[in-house]
């Protein structure tokens, strides 16, 4: 027993609880800091002058337009869907409840490839219009997919599940009692939605929307393919075609400010939600059946959403793959690379996520800092982090070659995604009693034993979920991989993007479908997990 409180053991205790957290924070903060610093100190190069004089304002405005339109579309889609699915009974409701999550498996760039083909002037939709009406290509108006609005349409189609999930959770847990109270006070149902349900769910909806917009601002593949020049696309091009990291870093600064603003909103709203969501009481909601007409409309609406973000684009890509009979013989290498990178990244992110989640549970200023850095990384586009990593590597004169580039890439994955891993692990720990750790210590367990025998096993279910999410996220990741991967480390995402941008959509279709297929399983598991974790549910 003497060893338990020897100086060595005490130092070990401090090391176990603080060191990984500190290290994680430091490692993860570097690319962010490097991107910011290089933006400040890089001289205003010629390329930057050129960008400022011609494009910067337009890039910013385009980004703003895309974000606003995306937000509107996401809200218009997700909130009615969440409401219908939680509060009403209609044909197919149970199925739609989880089908509506599927777009999470489809990366924005994949959906963009498909819609660009579907909605182009020679695509099947416009051809059908011309055949049906006998009009010429210039005699009718057709929405232009290669536009900020088109990009918003595509991004919203893939991102509405974020808001759908948070709104559904809010409707299910927080506002049922309030809604019933409002009804007993004589408020008609529609007014109840406006006056009670929506205000009560607003923090959750705002938090989900902020996440969706972070993703939208970070998108590179879809915007680049559609030729919509957002800040992220501008950044990438400044880096790759002008070779000017300084100009890219300044655009990164604008994106960082945007990310910080979104994160601030998300944080603020989450704090407000916290006080309401503390109750663990949960009641089976009495779903109001919809009459036949409205019921069919509700089903049609939900069906439309699933088709929009998932069904239509994937069927189109599947059709292209089948029609052209592309074998995809050259895809084994990229598949192996994708799996290798995703596995490496997942392993690193899960370990970092565990140390952060455990650290946050213990509390303290360092834990808060770690959390902020991680959340910051998640909000920042991958292209910005990749740029930061490149700048950092250049500062330390590390050559971006071979293993170093892979390390750097995994590092960027960690910066970007660790928070996505820390969340489910934290949630798993939070389900355990708060005093569990103290109880373990009182039972003569050293801090190391406590972590090993109690906290890790408890966190395990969360870690599995985290691993699934991370694996898919890294599999889908495009801009950072594109900027940092060494030669012959093409992932499926990179290969799909390369094929598509070389106008070989037939060749791109197969890797796209492989990415989505790989992403589907985790999304389904997640959906199952969400249904199961609802308090009150056996």
């Amino acid at each position: 027993m003497a060893s338990a409180f020897s100086p060595k053991a005490l130092a070990g205790q401090a090391l176990l609880s603080r060191a990984p957290l500190g290290l994680a924070t430091l490692v993860l903060a570097v690319p962010l800091a490097a991107a910011a610093l290089s933006a400040v100190f890089a001289g205003g190069g010629e390329a930057w002058q050129h960008i400022v004089s011609t494009d910067l304002l337009r890039f910013s405005l385009t980004t703003a337009v895309v974000l606003v339109l995306t937000a509107l579309l996401v809200i218009a889609a997700a909130i009615p869907a969440a409401w219908l699915v939680t509060m009403h009974a209609f044909p197919g409701r149970g199925l739609f409840e989880w089908l509506l999550i599927l777009p999470l498996a489809a990366p924005g760039y994949v959906v963009a490839f498909a819609y660009s083909d579907l909605m182009g002037v020679a695509g099947p939709l416009q051809s059908a219009v011309r055949e049906a009406t006998g009009l010429g290509a210039r005699d009718y108006w057709f929405p232009d997919i290669n536009s900020p609005a088109g990009l918003a349409f595509i991004l919203a189609g893939t991102l509405y599940p974020y808001v759908y999930l948070s709104a559904r959770a809010a409707f299910t847990t927080t506002s049922v009692c309030a809604i019933e109270a409002a009804r007993t006070l004589g408020t008609p149902p529609l007014r109840t939605i406006w006056r009670v349900a929506l205000p009560a769910a607003r923090p959750a909806i705002a938090a989900g929307l902020a996440l969706a917009l972070m993703e939208a601002a970070a998108d590179f593949g879809a915007a680049d393919y559609l030729g919509v020049r957002t800040l992220t696309v501008g950044l990438f091009r400044a880096w790759s075609s002008f070779g000017d990291a300084g100009a890219a870093a300044r655009m990164a600064m604008l994106l960082l400010v945007l990310a910080a603003a979104l994160q601030w909103i998300e944080r603020g709203q989450r704090g407000r939600a916290g006080s309401e969501a503390t109750s663990k009481r949960w009641r089976q909601i009495e779903r109001t059946p919809l009459p036949a007409g409205p019921g069919a409309l509700a089903a049609l609406f939900c069906f439309g959403l699933v088709v929009w973000g998932f069904g239509a684009p994937l069927l189109r890509l599947g059709w292209i793959a089948l029609e052209t009979g592309h074998r995809g013989a050259g895809l084994w290498g990229p598949l192996a690379t994708s799996l290798t990178l995703a596995a490496l990244g997942t392993a690193v992110c899960v370990m970092l996520g565990l140390s952060v989640a455990l650290g946050v549970r213990r509390g303290g200023a360092l834990a808060q800092l770690a959390r902020s850095v991680l959340a910051g990384g998640y909000a920042v586009p991958g292209a910005v982090l990749a740029l930061g990593a490149i700048v950092a590597a250049a500062t330390f004169q590390i050559n971006l070659v071979g293993p170093f580039a892979v390390l750097l890439l995994v590092w960027v994955y960690a910066c970007r995604f660790t928070t996505a891993g820390a969340e489910p692990i934290g949630a798993a720990l939070a389900r355990a009693p708060a005093s569990m750790g103290d109880a373990a210590r009182a039972l003569s367990q050293s801090p190391a034993q406590r972590i090993w025998r109690v906290e890790l096993p408890v966190a395990r279910s969360g870690a599995w979920v985290a691993a699934l999410i991370l694996f898919v996220e890294i599999l889908k990741e495009l801009p950072a991989t594109l900027m940092l991967r060494p030669a012959n480390w093409d992932t499926l995402a990179v290969r799909a993007y390369d094929y598509a941008s070389d106008e070989r959509l037939a060749a791109a279709a197969l890797p796209c479908l492989m990415i989505v297929a790989a992403g589907l399983a985790p999304v389904l598991v997640l959906s199952w997990q969400l249904a199961r974790s609802r308090p009150g549910q056996p």
Binding site: A4, S435, A440, Q449, V454
Partner: protein
Amino acid sequence: MSAPGPQSLIAAGLKKRLGGRLIVDDVDLEIRPNRVTALLGASGAGKSTVLRLLAGLERVDAGTVAIGGALLSRRGYTRPPEARRTGLIFQDFALFPHLTAAENVAFGLAHLGRSARVAKAQDWLERLELSHRADAYPQALSGGEQQRVAIARALAPGPDALLMDEPFAGLDPALREGVADLALSAVAQTGIPTLLVSHDAQSAMERADTLAVMRAGRILQTGTPEEIYDRPVSLEVAEALGPVVTFALGEVPSGLWPGNAPRGLADPVLAARASAFRRVEAAGCRVRVERIARMADGVSATVVHAAAAFKVRLPLEHSPQPGDEIRLELGRRGVFVFAKG
């Protein structure tokens, strides 16, 4: 175990400052073997912090914690909880969700061999009448069962002391009595010094051998429940153990109290337990009954005298009706005079 038998857990001069506020201010406490010591106080009084200091979950800013002559805490030194041999019971039970009831109990027995561990865990589950639930996971157990598992888990390693933080507050009132009796009898068999932190005066008085009343970080009085109930040192202590009616000594309704105030008190206040009032046929003080509320063991009557209204407890058989005019008098027990403030 070299120690001859259970030893007292002693805290002396404990101080703890958290977030700039003095949460625990010079607390002395002796938790003796073979007795249950209850630390009673309203929430925010600093009780739980005292428990965490005793358990080694917090460092002390001043003072010492010791057991049987062995120093556990002083400023700059804290023997970590895992090296203290102190059992802990929490309000939220704190069971490990990934382990069954039996595995939870066996958790602290890592030093034993497998078969000894299983046997000992079974033995403790049996003592708490839980053998049939050995293989259930915490989420399948009721609150009462969970807390019994938590108690078995804390006692199984044979701790030197047991610290319980509001152990029964999270339970359904209907279950509370049974679980508490079973738990405390299991604790009593071990004879180890036991601290029970509670905000419920009734249950603390019922279950504790020694009571310590705490308020704003200080211990106001320590003694047997009877001593404290009958001879509180201050109005605050009196109020901590149950409802009290107070009058400035000059304004006591005439005829209510036959006693005399001790001399030399500045601004004396008469404090009477609500249960110290008696209904009398003659003399006493005339009051009008405003409301009657039925309690488990009598009634609570809101009565008015002149402008003053106060609540008294009366036995069921003497229950008046609202609107009745009755006469009240104070006896000797449960009536105190304190200096104001």
